[in-house]
Amino acid sequence: MMFATTMRVGPIGFRIGSDWSAPIAGLEALYRDYQKPDDGIPHFTVRLEATRFWRRFIRPSVQIAGDHTLPEALPLPLAQAVLAAEMAMNLQMALGQRHFLLLHASSVERDGKVIILTGESGSGKSTLAALLGEAGWRLLGDEFALIEPATGLAWPFPRPISLKNDSIAVMEAQVGAERFGIRICGTPKGDIRHLIPNVTALKGMDTPAQPALILFPRFGAPRAVRDVQPSEVFIRLTQASTNYVALAEPGYTALTRLVTQTSARAIDYPDTASGLALVEQLWAELA
């Protein structure tokens, strides 16, 4: 690769190569405060490649390549290369992660205890985690929760938060411009703008903590709270995990321990303010 950079997000190191300099510059801006991979050895390599040689120059479009790829992945325009890199990094984790039970979830920590928020895209888990991360909680991650099989601890994976559409303005109202990436318009997911996690999240990215509460948020519905039984949590988390089957028995052990030792609630909330209030209320009830 002509251009390259590396970074470490929590316990995971990445190497990103690119046919163009601009995506690397964009990534180095987003990851300017992150450490490099331990001993210089990344876990995963991602490559942002031109679909054809001349496509480096003419209507440049980015094909994702790397250790793990999906055959049907469509190329993105060069202007969306940072998003392509993020998608490729997610893909490495989703398909290649072997050390942690991976849950598609956001997570935050306070007083040494973690809330895991999991749900479909659009459930508001990213936005809630981003807001909690600015309101006295430590953001562990907005995309993946990493459960360590040997200990049951949740490890941070605080990559830049991928804000979408309406949540961009919500966070712009809270956080200074210096922590934002450029706004990427017209992506397959709408508009995207990355938010760099705050100092607490970045300084704490090597500190795991014990899961204490699992939430299944649903945005846009009247306020409601429902207890979720362990067997339902188990099923939903196997669906939220990309590597439960690949991890075999350590995955089973990690997941059953998480499910039997952690309270779980499904929460419906009409707007982010009531969602935040609900999270704080459930947290207070847990104490």
Partner: protein, 82 residues
């Protein structure tokens, strides 16, 4: 043990080590599995052991039910006839 059983609530998670598959079973399947895990048994002996350990009534209805539940467990590859 060929299987790891983890009671969750009314359902029990079962990890089958050889195949790496996970099952969620409702009673009395985990109880049957645990009992057979200790030693293979024919239905009458199995019914006797379940009666001792779990207070299962010993009658024709129990035998018929056990036969059906063993067929369920056989269908998912967790028990098989010897």
């Amino acid at each position: 043990m060929a299987c790891v059983l983890t009671p969750l609530d009314s359902l029990t998670a079962v990890y089958h080590r050889r195949s790496g598959t996970t099952h969620l079973l409702a009673e009395p399947l985990p109880e049957i599995l645990a009992t057979l895990g200790a030693a293979p048994a024919a239905i009458p002996a199995l019914a006797e052991r379940l009666a001792m350990e779990y207070g299962l009534a010993m009658n024709a209805e129990t035998t018929a039910l056990l036969s059906q539940r063993l067929a369920d467990l056989e269908a998912i590859g967790l028990v098989w006839p010897l």
